[in-house]
Symmetry: C2
Subunit: 101 residues, 2 copies
Amino acid sequence: MSTLKVRVEQKKLERAAYVLKCVAHPVRISIIDLLEQRERLTVSQLQEVLQVEQSLLSHHLTNMRDKGVVDTQRQGKHVYYSLTDSAITNIISCINGCKNF
Amino acid sequence: MSTLKVRVEQKKLERAAYVLKCVAHPVRISIIDLLEQRERLTVSQLQEVLQVEQSLLSHHLTNMRDKGVVDTQRQGKHVYYSLTDSAITNIISCINGCKNF
DNA sequence: GGCGTACATGAAAATATGTTCATGTATAAG
DNA sequence: CTTATACATGAACATATTTTCATGTACGCC
């Protein structure tokens, strides 16, 4: 009963919670799912598939970008979004892999 | 550009977000980390390691239990908590595996 | 039954998140 | 330089989550 302690350091814990919180939303999970399929997508393309208000989508994307989950590149009038780290996608696989859910 | 769609069904999306939200908190990630190490732990044991208010911990645990992330068994005065699904722990490995974080 | 320990619960307060709506900015085309 | 398109931003509001504090309940022991 002695050597029990939290193995993840505080900073990483907070970072993990921060990122997970960012993933934990139906619209954002969908965005990740789509970016997993297509490498990079414009806001309009995402919007067409997701059928959400433009500004709402934009807020979510900005949120995800701020948290380092997605990257952007502007190309003319369009802004392309892509996943910064494919490991993020594993999280969703994990969830899907959970038998009890 | 035609066959792009969200592969995860709506119900599962919401369930995933629900569970991820439940994981996405420093205290709760710590709880999962500890239960990964010890199989089952009482509230007092968790409290001793985590150094949080008893009632706060209890709220978090009830939350996690309601969402099916942990299970409980009472044994005399003590209540033991354990993870219902080891796949949950993978989520944390995923996070740790993310290079960009 | 009374007491202490272990844990749960509920309401209120503090804080964070999600959504909408109106407006702003960048770029390309004419 | 005007206009349309693509996207971002900010403030206001709605809703959800987190935390605290006070109190409640279950169990074992005397």
